[in-house]
């Protein structure tokens, strides 16, 4: 059972308030979509959860631990920018991950490499931007982690690969796992998530189960998003 608990979280960059007194509780067994316009604080929030930003005020607990060493063991994080050494071959990066993360599933990684039609002996520097993003996604998804935090996992890849990524999210889902996904491509993802958080100026505007929201507004989540943030 994994949980994320956030109480009165604030984060600012100088005078700019990225997250404004946000409180939230997420339990395992669900895929949560985090959406909002640019600058709404999505990435800032995810970075804090990933223990990559410790300069915040308020309380953040991941399975009862402040983001740090303990949370790194159970959180698999996908940043929204390239972050891996370009000099390594895909297979070397997989080996590297296998060495560093005890929950890494090498078999799964090589299987996804094949699904994405990537060559194991190809160096990252020789890959296109989209190919590089696929490698990063497969590394993140190949950990049997308790919590997955994915910042824009599908925005940079072609539709066929999007399907593979969405499939891997369903496959990676379990009763004990929690997945938080930020995206601006709601269309592709809205059937995959079971609840959604609309973030605006660092605050939660709407939060709820996707099917409940559909019932309540008679609209798709994407239409609801467009209506609110037109």
């Amino acid at each position: 059972m994994s949980t994320i608990k956030i109480n009165n979280l604030c984060k600012n960059y100088g005078k700019l308030q990225a997250i404004n007194n946000l409180s939230l509780e997420l339990n395992s067994g669900q895929i949560v979509g985090l959406v909002g316009p640019n600058g709404s604080g999505k990435s800032s929030l995810l970075r804090i959860l990933g223990a990559f930003d410790m300069a915040y005020s308020g309380e953040v607990l991941i399975n009862g631990f402040k983001p740090g060493l303990e949370s790194r063991k159970i959180v698999s994080f996908l940043p929204d920018k390239p972050y891996i050494s370009e000099n390594l071959r895909a297979e070397q990066i997989i080996e590297l991950y296998d060495g560093f993360f005890s929950d890494f599933n090498k078999e799964k990684a090589f299987k996804m490499l094949e699904l994405f039609k990537l060559k194991p002996e190809q160096k990252l520097i020789e890959m296109s931007k989209g190919m590089g993003e696929k490698v990063q996604v497969l590394l993140t998804m190949s950990r049997d982690a308790e919590i997955f935090i994915l910042d824009e996992p599908i925005s940079g890849v072609d539709p066929a690969s999007r399907k593979i990524i969405l499939r891997s999210m369903i496959e990676g889902f379990s009763e004990d796992a929690l997945m938080v996904v930020s995206t601006h491509l709601l269309n592709d993802i809205e059937n995959i998530i079971d609840s959604v958080i609309f973030l605006d100026s660092g605050q939660i505007k709407i939060q709820g189960s996707t099917d409940d929201l559909r019932e309540q507004y008679g609209k798709s989540i994407n239409e609801l998003f467009e209506q609110i943030f037109q």
Partner: protein, 122 residues
């Protein structure tokens, strides 16, 4: 695979309809084991919890039952499946009739039309 859902309606309700159709037309046979939630979620490309919710609903109306260890099965109650079939047929026909009336087609014309379409099918 690759179902097109109407995303302005709750997905689980649409899944229930699909499952009911599968039972009515025999794709899912009486007494047969239902595929795992994960596999169904992958097939329909939807959230596993949504599939779970639809299957629980299916159990609530008696069309499926769970066995603690071996999984979920389609009901063997023939009467229930028969009723389901009738109910679905009736609902669809009622919708059809409503649509016909909405464009002002007379009763006789409706029957003629149905007969003609059926003979064309053959």
């Amino acid at each position: 695979m690759s179902y097109k859902f109407d995303e302005s309606q709750p997905i689980y309700l649409q899944l229930i309809e699909i499952f009911k159709t599968n039972i009515a037309n025999g794709t899912w046979k009486a007494g047969e084991k239902i595929d795992s939630v994960r596999n169904l979620a992958l097939d329909f490309a939807v959230n596993p919890n949504t599939v779970q919710r639809a299957l629980v609903e299916l159990e609530n109306i008696g069309l499926a039952y769970s066995q603690r260890t071996s999984g979920r099965f389609i009901t063997q109650n023939q009467e229930l499946t028969r009723n389901l079939k009738h109910e679905m047929a009736e609902n669809k026909t009622r919708d059809f009739v409503k649509q016909m009336q909405a464009i002002d087609i007379e009763q006789k014309a409706i029957l003629d039309l149905v007969q003609r379409c059926l003979s064309l099918e053959e």
